[in-house]
């Protein structure tokens, strides 16, 4: 397991007003779906999924939300940040004809996954959804890959109105997929799970988020009911066999104190 590494931010790309990708020049050796714990050693330390990972650099794509991400958005290239990881389970690289469904800031890890799937020779269809056009990220990056790419916003400003789940439904009806990967807001993922109940033979993997503190499987803050598995070790990527058992999924999560908060 890697120790903490402190290094300058190599580059920052503005994806939109509230989302930026931070690049670091370092070989991380992470698998798609894994995350790092990123910190400035002043404001906090939080988990972020790897959105790009090549031999000489890696990136994480971050949405500005609270204190910590706001502090990150003050950083300029050359400023030092500190990370540990990569941690957690990863997406399996499997399936010949694959559907990827992303939502909001959770889509970027599917970009890294897509690149690895393409290397493995799979055919991909990617659905990238967001509330508005401005909030859609990684569109250009996906368009540059040889895959079928669909964008969707709630407002329909890109031609289609609706959610990525709506598109996924149509795609699932019209095509035969042998694997589905989903990363998005939990309620979107719950809708996907419900949709996928109609395809009992189809395997799928979702990327989950739970409140993480240690990220190394000891504090127990990120366990999910009723399995008790730790989303920082046995997750954040879970496969169908586990997902169907989750009673907590889409219902509640536990905050920093371990108190249940309902969606």
């Amino acid at each position: 397991m890697l120790k903490r590494i402190t290094l300058p931010v190599a580059e920052i790309v503005n994806e939109n007003e509230t989302i930026r990708t931070f690049y670091f020049e370092k070989k991380l050796g992470a698998l798609p779906g894994q995350f790092i714990m990123l910190s400035d050693l002043v404001t906090g330390e939080k988990p972020f999924s790897i959105s790009e990972c090549e031999s000489g650099y890696f990136g994480v794509t971050i949405k500005k939300l609270g204190t910590f991400t706001q502090a990150l958005f003050e950083k300029k290239p050359g400023d030092l940040l500190s990370y540990r990881g990569a941690y957690g389970s990863s997406f399996s690289i499997s399936g010949r004809n694959v559907l990827l469904v992303g939502g909001g800031y959770a889509t970027p890890p599917l970009y890294y996954l897509s690149k690895e799937l393409l290397k493995a020779g799979a055919e991909l269809t990617v659905v990238n959804g967001a509330r508005s056009k401005k909030e859609l990220v990684f569109c250009e990056r996906f368009s540059n890959l040889s895959l079928s790419y669909q964008r969707i916003t709630d407002a329909g400003c890109l031609g289609r109105a609706g959610s990525s789940v709506d598109i996924a439904q149509v795609l699932l009806e019209e095509n035969h997929y042998d694997m589905v990967y989903v990363s998005g807001p939990e309620l979107m993922m719950r809708a996907m799970r419900n949709l996928l109940q109609n395809y009992p033979e189809l395997n799928y993997e979702f990327l989950f988020e739970r409140y993480m503190k240690c990220a190394i499987g000891i504090c127990g803050n990120c366990t999910i009911d009723p399995l008790g598995i730790r989303l920082c070790v046995e997750g954040p990527v879970l496969a169908r066999d586990k997902i169907v058992q989750l009673t907590e999924f889409g219902e509640y999560h536990r905050n920093a104190a371990g108190i249940k908060e309902y969606f």
Binding site: D40, G217, G258
Partner: protein, 309 residues
């Protein structure tokens, strides 16, 4: 024979634990399902996260820092508070016949008593007094466990109200630990848990020129604290009659046997989850059985203790 797990089952204060391994406070014991997952994987007794009167979010990150031989943590006693915390314990205990230690933390005798009364009404099997958290000393000053008088006061007060056995969890970061142990015993403690984290310690990031931990210092745990835990357990074992939960740095079966030889009745396994994964409990159980087979011990209590000092 080797797979006869009953050989490593242990009776502890009137309850039976399937294995001698204890999940210590603050490790995986935040949620009922976390308790279940640990038990399913070979842990014999579960300790809850230390519960306080009110919920606590704990310190900001980083709350964990690694170094050669161990880790520091400054979780800061994050917990959902006694009500929610006991709800998690009850949820687990309702379905599983597995002894649970409810760890509680407070800074006044009154609060310890209030917490104990709530534990009385729960399905918890034992109550453990965390007298020794080093990560909130900025907030609360020296841990209570540094004073044998305070330890004795709290233990005897809690004993007056508790309906279940009381365990005193003590700190190694004191002068004269053995005397504090005997004071806890004299005050009525039914068992000791030794040790809480060592130090505390601090690490500095020389690039960012800041302490790594948000709270600057944190308690040490993991392999490197084992020698201190063994010494504390052995010295206590030599002086007290009550059973001891030996905790600190146990990462494999040989460590666990060392802890038993030092005089522990049960063995805590916490930080080892990090490098050993969830399989560590079953691995240690198997390694203890292998050791027992090698030297011909039928049951775990046949493993000899060191001669008392």
């Amino acid at each position: 024979m080797k797979n006869d797990r009953s050989r490593i089952s242990v009776e502890f204060l009137g309850k039976r634990a399937a294995t001698p391994l204890v999940l210590p406070a603050g490790i995986m014991g935040m949620t009922w399902s976390g308790m279940k997952y640990t038990w399913e994987n070979g842990c014999g007794i579960i300790t809850s996260k230390s519960l306080t009167m009110e919920p606590r979010k704990g310190h900001a990150g980083p709350v964990i820092a690694e170094f050669e031989g161990g880790m520091l943590n400054c979780m800061g006693l994050c917990n959902p508070g006694i009500e929610e915390g006991l709800a998690e314990v009850n949820e687990f205990r309702k379905f599983y016949e597995v002894p649970v230690i409810v760890s509680i933390f407070a800074t006044t005798i009154d609060d310890f008593l209030t917490l104990t009364q709530k534990v009385n009404e729960s399905r918890g099997d034992f109550v453990e007094l965390n007298l020794s958290c080093p990560n909130v000393s900025d907030e609360y000053g020296l841990p209570l466990a540094a004073s044998k008088i305070k330890v004795a006061e709290i233990v005897s007060a809690v004993k007056m109200v508790s309906k279940i056995p009381v365990i005193a969890k003590l700190s190694p970061n004191v002068s004269g630990l053995t005397e504090i142990c005997t004071a806890a015993e004299a005050a009525g403690a039914d068992a000791l848990c030794l040790i809480n984290t060592l130090g505390p310690g601090m690490l500095i990031d020389i690039d960012l020129q800041r302490s790594v931990l948000s709270n600057r210092t944190g308690g040490m745990s993991g392999p490197c604290v084992k020698p201190v835990a063994l010494r504390a357990v052995f010295e206590a074992y030599s002086r007290v009659k009550i059973p001891i939960i030996g905790t600190g740095g146990v990462s494999n079966g040989r460590d666990a046997v060392e802890m038993l030889m030092a005089g522990a009745s049960l063995v805590g396994v916490g930080s080892a989850l990090y490098e050993g994964g969830i399989g560590i409990f079953e691995q240690i159980n198997q390694d203890i059985l292998t050791y027992m087979d090698q030297y011909g011990y039928g049951t775990i209590t046949d493993i000899p203790r060191l001669e008392k000092m």
